[in-house]
Amino acid sequence: MTDQLSDRELADRVVSSGDEAAFQALYVRHTPRVYGFLLRLTGGNAMEAEDLMQETWLRAARGLTRFQWKSAFRTWLMGIALNQFRELARRRGRRITTVEGEWEAPGEMAEPGCRIDLERALRLLPPGFRTILVLHDAEGFTHREIGKRLGISDGTSKSQLHRARTAMRRLLNAGLETA
């Protein structure tokens, strides 16, 4: 029965009475999409993505009363997930907004004559390039949104995307070039 309710109705139940069934319906509805997003951002690190997903839901559930419903619930959830990803990167000293210096494509990543697939290329890219490609090209964020979410300027976002796409192409075609 809870499956038929809107996100807002479910969230209201969670807030008003701690309704676990309502929370479960929200979890089932949104987790696969947000987890897929986190899995890609972390370069396929399932354990890290699960930790981030857990923290995202905990923050969302505890902060439901503050959610104004000016955006879709999932958009809000994705925003929390991205913040958690940033926070984790900060704690681990990883740069996810920039890649400094020239980046060299790793060798021996593709069989000669073969083109590696995009998913694998995204995993092999440094976090700074991967993040911008996932947000802009896979998820459709604008440069303004990316700048706001990652705390960088629109210009930095654009230049990072430019470098990231170049690096991605180099990786995708690495096998073809060595054929």
Binding site: V14, S17, G18, D19, E20, A21, F23, Q24, Y27, T31, P32, R33, Y35, G36, F37, L39, R40, G43, N45, A46, M47, E48, A49, E50, D51, M53, Q54, W57, L58, A61, R62, R92, E104, P106, G107, E108, M109, D117, L118, E119, L124, P126, D137, A138, G155, K158, S159, L161, H162, R165, T166, R169
Partner: protein, 224 residues
């Protein structure tokens, strides 16, 4: 400058075709719900009724039953004082005995519950430790693979020394990772002796160790 690396239609299609959804492990839900129940954000319907129904607290009135029974059963005829005294003493003894028994029973129950709660907490903490260690293990492997990737092939332009050092470090990390995997597989077979997948993993690792293909060279890891 920034718009000259536009995605080609093929690349755009590849991005569009990337799968958008993935399924986390079944334990994630349990971890989240447990945390939210603990801080009171969620209230489990099953948990709430279960607590009430399964409460070991005795039904109201049970301990007082002997007193009311003695009083209501008294006849209207005259009773000698020593009989009253004996009856009172007997009643007191019955009350005292039942009180002691009830106390022991309640004490045993609460000790049992406390013991179970401690055990449950310990298992939860252990599960969390395993999760944290697993995350650290995988993250270290990711960093190692990035190191391997950035080290790249030896170009012969003054990078040979650093490349060789990086390769040695990667090999050491790989050996340590395999060793940890081997140890984990052994413990997992102890936990779930009948699991064929775990047994297979252990078998593969044993064979690798047996045939000396563990780290592809000299053992470099010092175990703590």
């Amino acid at each position: 400058m920034n718009d000259d690396v536009e995605l080609t239609p093929e690349e755009k299609m590849e991005f569009d075709n990337l799968p958008r959804e993935a399924s986390p492990s079944e334990f994630l839900w349990e971890r989240i719900v447990r945390a939210l129940r603990e801080d009171g954000t969620l209230r489990s319907a099953a948990g709430a009724t279960g607590t009430a129904a399964g409460s070991p607290v005795a039904a109201p009135g049970t301990p007082g039953l002997p007193v009311s029974h003695w009083r209501s059963d008294r006849s209207g005829r005259w009773v000698r004082p020593w009989v009253v005294a004996a009856a009172s003493m007997a009643a007191s003894l019955v009350l005292f005995g039942s009180g002691v028994l009830m106390g022991q029973w309640m004490g045993a129950r609460s000790t049992e519950r406390a013991f179970l709660a401690v055990r449950e907490q310990d298992s939860a903490q252990l599960a969390q430790r395993i999760q944290e260690a697993g995350t650290a293990y995988v993250s270290a492997l990711v960093a190692l693979s990035e190191l391997r990737a950035t080290a790249g092939p030896d170009t012969g332009r003054g990078r040979s020394a650093s490349s060789a050092q990086a390769a040695a470090e990667v090999q050491q990390g790989r050996e340590a990772a395999l060793g940890a995997l081997y140890g984990a597989a052994i413990e997992l077979t102890r936990i779930t002796p009948g699991d064929p997948d775990v047994s297979r993993i252990l078998q593969i690792l044993k064979e690798r160790q047996l045939h000396g293909t563990w780290a592809g060279g000299t053992r470099m890891t010092v175990w703590y």
